[in-house]
């Protein structure tokens, strides 16, 4: 065979394989890649969304972002969300998974099924239910706290008080997530070879040592995955905050994504909203890379 014929055959073979990827790639490019560039372009302009022409303003939107006190407030809230989400649901999921994998526990399936349910529920429904639970008049949370005679609590406005609203929201958010973490950890634990644990027991390790020196290192991959997922998710968090408080009261539960949304679609400042969105994307990209680098080192 001549070289050209060989090359032609190779090309056809490549193309036949490439064809499998084409549908996914096409839609990905149309609905993700091209819009991102569109957003970048809009971020350099000032635009109200309706006028056919946009005004080019260079880096003005970005300068505005970095001198906007609300932006920093929002980032602070995202960071708070990250820390809480990693400490509470992920850790809780891990502990619960370890508990459930104790050899004497029966009916694991029941637990697995029920713990996962909060993850499935629409966040609008979560917002309605938790909104009621937090209601200062009849909310069940107020009544439980009141039962323990703390601060005379049944009149706390969980969602209307600027200082505690974010805590209230993050608790509701964690409720939807810890079950998911537990189920994932459960499966990971099932994959651990029992002999590792047996060795530790033979060596005389107590449960605490077993936990730190045997189980956690073996779960490193899963922990990394869930922490990364929580990290990205906490920067992206939108639905639950938007539904329950819209970022209020007075921006005390504002996060970057809700701020971007109201800038673009409520205030019609599409250029500013675009800039915020791009800044958010960059922040996520950088923190993910830093985290992955740090997680891989060990």
């Amino acid at each position: 065979m001549t070289t050209t014929k060989v090359n032609a055959l190779k090309a056809i073979k490549w193309f036949k394989s490439f064809l499998f990827v084409v549908p996914a790639l096409t839609f990905y490019i149309i609905f993700m890649v091209i819009p991102i560039f569109g957003t970048i372009r809009i971020s350099f302009h000032e635009w109200n969304g309706a006028a056919p022409k946009m005004t080019f303003v260079g880096l003005q939107n970005y300068i505005r972002v970095f001198s906007d006190p609300i932006f920093y407030k929002a980032i602070g809230h995202n960071l708070f969300w990250i820390i809480f989400t990693i400490v509470v649901p992920v850790l809780l999921g891990l502990i619960l998974a370890i508990l459930i994998m104790q050899s004497f526990v029966r009916m694991r399936i029941l637990f697995r099924v029920t713990y996962f349910m909060p993850t499935l529920v629409s966040l609008v429904a979560v917002g309605v239910v938790w909104g009621w639970m937090y209601n200062p008049d009849f909310g069940i949370i107020g009544r439980v706290v009141d039962f323990f005679k703390v601060f005379g609590a049944s009149n706390i406005d969980w969602l209307g008080n600027e200082k505690i609203v974010l805590w209230s929201l993050v608790v509701a958010g964690s409720w939807t997530y810890y079950g998911f973490c537990m189920v994932i950890f459960m499966a990971a634990l099932q994959g651990i070879d029992a002999c590792y644990i047996e060795v530790a027991v033979i060596e005389g390790a107590n449960p605490w040592q077993k936990f730190i020196y045997v189980i956690v290192p073996l779960l490193k991959g899963t922990i990394t995955l869930l922490v990364l997922n929580s990290l990205i998710g906490s920067f992206k968090v939108f639905d639950i905050i938007m539904i329950m408080t819209k970022g209020g009261p007075y921006h005390s539960s504002e996060v970057i994504s809700t701020y971007m949304f109201s800038a673009a679609f409520s205030l019609n400042e599409y250029g500013y909203g675009a800039a915020l969105a791009i800044v958010l994307a960059v922040i996520i990209g950088i923190s993910s890379s830093i985290y992955m680098r740090f997680a891989e080192k060990d």
């Binding site: 990827v21 091209i34 609008v124 009621w132 499966a187 996520i284």
Partner: protein, 280 residues
Amino acid sequence: MKKIGNYLLNNIGKIIVYFVLIFFLIISVMPIIFMCLAALKPAGDLSDPFALSISLTLDNIIEAWTRGRMNRYMLNSIIVAVPRVSVILLFASLAGYAFGKLKFKGRNLIFAFILAGMMVPIQAMIIPIYYNIQQYGLINTYWAMILPSFGLSMPFACFMMRAFFKDLPVEIMESATIDGSNEFNTWLYIMLPLVRPALLSLLVFEFMWSWNDFLLPMLMVYEDSYRTLPLGLMYFSGEHTSNQSLIAAGVAICILPIITVYLMFQRTFIEGITAGAVKG
């Protein structure tokens, strides 16, 4: 008495473990159950949705379904979910097979390219998407809610399918080729059935995301007749704030389908995602 005391003391560890597990089980399930119970309460008991009522009635559910237009919203959710899930599953399993098993130049680069999309927040895309959909006059249509999801869901879906295809033994593919099967037939008749757990898991995931999707419908649709369940529920609860049993009925209608789908597939579903998470 002494025996009971001894029993307790010896088993205190187990009791604590069960206590904790059951405690958090209750926390997970309680709000959902409360909602369903509140939906079944007669509309008269307004003041306190958390009080338990003896009389149960389906009236609220019926009213939410008809007068509250929940039937319309559910229909819309189904109309949007079916194409979304089937097309995403199809494209992702095609691509996942290629990424996991077929060797072609640039494969890993393209995969990394698509994977990067998982990190990008949807906010970075919606302004142009919204504008374009407006330009093409597709606001208030089903397509507006269906088409963008094809692109937005691809990263995760491809990631998951690839992980499962990768783990399949190469020999099967090779023997199929030796037997004269072309790539497409190999994919369709041999590889695809082997990744059934992954497909079912992805199906549940994508169905869940489609069903619960709130942002895309909110932007793309403002006419009531096109609203999907979450959107409808949001406006519904805003409209009827005083009638809490009715709202509870709306919530119940919204969450029961996905819970049903989950219960049907839960075993395979959980096996699928946990395998994906532990492998990936």
